[in-house]
Symmetry: C2
Subunit: 207 residues, 2 copies
DNA sequence: CTCCAATCTTGTCATCGGATAGATTGGAGG
DNA sequence: CCTCCAATCTATCCGATGACAAGATTGGAG
């Protein structure tokens, strides 16, 4: 992919309008910010959020090793941008499924697996600046879907909070275990189908 | 703590007998292997599994920067030792609670929180050598408890696998979310009590 | 008491993240 | 069309790191 940030339907996700358009030159890259983020996503896919260097990303993008610093400041800045973008795509996907709590859970797992590099950064607060505004707004948007959709399934009044945490934990845990390869089924079945069955087991009581 | 590897009851967990006993000297540290692992646990607690350097651990232990290499080879070797030790303490704790499935889940969460540095390494396979024998045996021991205890609660025949994965995911997800600070309740209530309530919500159906 | 092997130190090298100073270029305003 | 400013990127430098190699030290088996 030359331009990432696709939502789960495959529609191109357009970033906010750039303040300045720079044409491609021998000197000016043209869209280095996006190129570095894409390179980071690729590198994270290959070897995790710590298995690469900023200089390596710069080499992949064909620029000097100091170029990324202009756009992101430092390594944490780059990962903050990755996390923010991840939470936006995540929130979009969740909102699209918000009607059905079961589907919200499945979407959670599907996002983690199909957008693995985002997910591997998003829930690791020591890697980036969690209090960054761009991160916070998107994360709150995602959290809102989880709270409202799971709350509707609550078995009794005052149980909303517990139901939300249970559903969230179940989806998050399944995703984490799958990604880490801890589940023995990893090689065999389809994760989405398996996740749906597992979540149904939790919500089956209240349906 | 000067010597770690306590189990959850607080009993001192003795390592396997050292092949050689080295007395403390100006030159010889005496028990550098343990000192480095303890320093690593401390450092991981303070700044995650990537926020420190081998040289820093060596400085904390008062030895030269190349000393750790003799015991662990490289960084992955050290983290392999941490993961192996973590899975042993983990398996011990789970086995002690194996009678009650609910308690197994609570123990899972309690371990993650009270032995955070171990947990943060154990489920991150890119950090260490997951196929190391010392890791594999302890991990299989832990997995065995999860499978047998959750299987007993299965709502129907053939549902054992699903029940196991659900319980495992729930506990693992709750722990992960708590540790990452994603749960809004993080500052307020007691995680163990909250975890027990959440797990009861899942297993309530089958009781 | 000797001597070997485990343990630890010193020195070296390529690489990294971050900072600074300077070169290049796009395009807004005249 | 031209000027000039600001955004973008390059060139250097610095201290720190992981890994490796070679040598110093020491404990304890025999």
């Amino acid at each position: 992919m030359s331009t990432s940030r696709y939502d789960e339907g495959g529609t191109l996700y357009r970033g906010k309008a750039e303040v300045r358009q720079i044409k491609r030159t021998a000197y000016h890259h043209g869209n280095l910010r996006r190129a570095i983020i894409d390179a980071a996503l690729q590198a994270i896919t290959e070897s995790g959020p710590a298995g690469w260097s900023l200089r390596e990303l710069a080499r992949r993008a064909g620029v000097s090793h100091a170029a990324p610093a202009h756009h992101f400041g430092d390594r944490a800045g780059l990962l903050t941008a990755v996390a923010a973008e991840g939470f936006e795509v995540f929130a979009d996907a969740l909102e699209r499924a918000a009607d059905d709590a079961l589907e919200v859970g499945v979407t959670y797992v599907r996002f983690a697996i199909s957008h693995r590099p985002y997910f591997e950064v998003m829930f690791r607060p020591e890697l980036y600046r969690v209090d960054d505004p761009s991160v916070e707004t998107a994360r709150e948007r995602a959290a809102h879907v989880l709270v409202t959709s799971a709350g509707r399934l609550s078995p009794g009044p005052g149980q909303d909070r517990l139901t939300t945490i249970a559903g969230w934990s179940l989806a998050h845990g399944f995703a984490g275990l799958w990604l880490s390869g801890a589940l023995p089924e990893t090689a065999h079945s389809d994760p989405e189908t398996l996740a749906r069955s597992v979540i149904r087991l939790l919500f089956g009581t209240t349906h």
